[in-house]
Symmetry: C2
Subunit: 428 residues, 2 copies
């Protein structure tokens, strides 16, 4: 039997589920893959803590370095999260010639370039299918199956919490704060939801998608992100009237200005496949000249789906260990120009509260024009002495759009720029 010893760093939700699956489904996995996967040891912070899994015969240690060095451990699975000490431990394993499977998006987004280089030097695999999209197979399809495609854009709903919140706001008219509370009550959102609602979590995933999609490493500091905290039920309603849904997207794009990765809310045409993704579901949409459009959708988080993704990687890495050869890297990264976000073409929806008097529209149109942004459509609704103006622009450089907003904001007739959200559509 082809026995592979596994060492686990971390035994939280994903780690616990993984151990359970490796023990419970040992025979089924062996039949399907020919592999005898044995969990040798688990490194935890607090060994006295009660754990939701039974692990007879599995050593529990607080000494993660020794676990990595243990000759009985052929393969290291990192599910502890965070950069420190995960980064150091993963590097240590790779340098010792042990393949590593990790679910840690933050680690890969921040240190992926160095870690992948270390894996390449040692001729072992570093796999991270679970880092983006939870149980959705996306890392391997994007970096391997589509290696022969010139991908032009990857857009993803890669944070389930925010999609849940936006879905509630859209379907029930719920206010942001109430939808967030529901997400917390249902366990979709953490007590401190900042990483989710600020777009930071999605930014790490967008960095990974951009790096794999375009074969050039996009560091986390090259991914500007805006979250959903300013999205209101009012704008969701107005957007729906205009034929759009509001989604928080990670966008990785090969633009005229270079590779761009970013996270922000967008108005998406309601007939776009991503507009139909509801609740905590994740989805990734890939475009390229030959494949046209691909959609992958499924559960983006949770112990069970994530453990499935980790397990797939473990099986893959174990198979390579048994082949016994040095492993060529699955993807190579070449330096490439990264776009400054300011030079990327964007398109905007702007909601203005303006004085309801003659000449206002002319002044606003002039302000856009001075920034060389042209207006695609205007919709006006009067309420007493104030009016609401909804403007959708044509595409123009992000800097021009920002300049237009600034000019509009400074007009005396504009009481408030109530909302400004980018639009993603195929129209110019």
């Amino acid at each position: 039997m082809n026995t592979i010893g596994i060492g686990l760093l971390g035994a939280g939700t994903v780690g616990g589920t993984l151990i359970h699956r490796l023990v419970e489904e040992h025979a089924a996995i062996a039949a399907k893959t020919g592999l005898d996967l044995q969990v040798r040891s688990i490194a935890v912070r607090d060994p006295s803590k009660k754990r939701p899994f039974e692990a007879p015969g599995i050593a529990i240690t607080t000494d993660a370095k020794s676990l990595v060095d243990d000759p009985a451990v052929d393969l290291v699975v990192e599910v502890m999260g965070g950069q420190d000490p995960a980064g150091e431990l993963v590097l240590r394993a790779l340098e010792a010639g042990k393949p590593v499977v990790t679910a840690n998006k933050e680690l890969i987004a921040a240190q992926g370039s160095e870690l992948i280089a270390a894996a390449e030097r040692s001729g072992v695999a570093l796999l991270f299918e679970a880092a983006v999209g939870g149980g959705i197979p996306i890392i391997r399809p994007l970096s391997e199956t589509l290696a022969g495609e010139r991908i032009t854009r990857v857009m993803g709903i890669v944070n389930g919490t925010t999609n849940f919140i936006l879905s509630r706001m859209s379907e029930e008219g719920t206010a942001y704060e109430d939808a967030l509370q529901q997400a917390q009550d249902l366990g979709y959102a953490e007590p401190d939801p900042t990483a989710d609602v600020s777009g930071a979590d999605a930014a790490a995933k967008a960095a990974i998608l951009a790096s794999l999609g375009f074969g050039t490493w996009v560091g986390l500091d090259h991914v500007p992100h805006t979250g959903i905290t300013d999205i209101t039920a009012t704008d969701i309603r107005y957007a729906a009237n205009l034929g759009y849904s509001i989604k928080l997207l990670g966008i990785a794009e090969d633009t005229s200005a270079g590779v761009s990765a970013r996270v922000h809310p967008v108005l998406l045409p309601t007939d776009h496949p991503l507009a139909a993704i509801r609740g905590a579901t994740n989805a990734i949409f890939i475009e390229g000249p030959a494949i046209d459009e691909l959609l992958f959708a499924g559960p983006g988080a949770g112990g069970d789906p994530t453990a499935t993704a980790v397990l797939g990687d473990v099986i893959d890495a174990a198979r390579e260990i048994l082949a016994g050869a040095q492993v060529a890297p699955r993807i190579r990264f070449a330096p490439s120009e990264l776009a400054d976000f300011g030079s990327v073409p964007t398109k905007w929806y702007v909601r203005l509260e303006v004085a309801d008097e003659p000449g206002v529209l002319a002044q606003i149109a002039a302000a856009f024009g001075e920034a060389a942004v042209s207006i695609k459509s205007v919709w006006q609704e009067g309420t007493d002495d104030e009016a609401t103006l909804l403007i959708v622009t044509h595409r123009a450089k992000e800097t021009q759009q920002q300049e237009a907003l600034e000019r509009v904001r400074n007009l005396d007739c504009v009481n408030r720029v109530a909302a400004a959200i980018r639009v993603e559509s195929d129209e110019s």
Copy 2:
């Protein structure tokens, strides 16, 4: 540079596109993968035929066996289609220790078991990502990324022609014959559309999905198939009123009676993700306890998407050649009980034309009851002296459902069983 010599069997639409891509994007592929992929020779039937690609420096031969044996050919790509002589040539390559990439669903469905065994004996890869779902990455996600999941069901829209026809019938009320003609005019359907509309093409793909999903080889003769030739715009309209769309699905299922694979039209609840797949698009829906539901959607056919899938496999196989080791099989097949279709639980929609007189419903209900099939809902519409009855049953064994249909057909009060189509829904 890591040079890999490629020999192509066949130079039709997919082969021609592939050669074009390998030549045009040689530098981009090399940058992304570190591979120098060189097409050495192409085996064709008629060398005098004008081809849509330029191939300077590439030998063109009619001697496919010599191409396979050529020491300059490290990797064989089979895109000729059909079983003969493709099967013999693929086997020859594998036995010579050369990895093979094929897009040939018919060959894999019919001879996959023997060919995979031959690949395993030689320790080389046999890859066929393009055989199902064209440009959609599905083979590798299903067999590798999800290797650790106990998949319960795979359902797919795996034939674009029939989905195009059903979409037209549903969206425009077009009659079947006219929708087929449109599909032919647009190049979606062959002049002889039998393989598509009979469900035979989808059956080969369902056999492959079942084999990979459940790790047991399901031969093509274990996949009963019914096509769409009997579907009418009338039933599409009635189904829509009842909340269903009609789709031709390949279904691979782990049932209480064993593994079942089959192809037939189904009524699918309109809120099911597959119900939203329109036109020639393909989609595969995978269910399992941990991943819950995954959807993959994209272009299911065409030279460009298919060439992308073949190219991904070529890159993968080339990488393994360079690693220099014997390759362990990606998936192992264990014998498992295959369900007799008769014992699989199914659910039906039945449209009856009946005499509009008292007692008819009682007789029909009794006929179903005698076959131990219970009725979930009945809808009746009278027209003069004849009435239309729509019946949706609860789930029961396929043999019972067939018996019920037979009993109903034999009733004097039933003028005609106008339609009988299975229903796939989560309800019993």
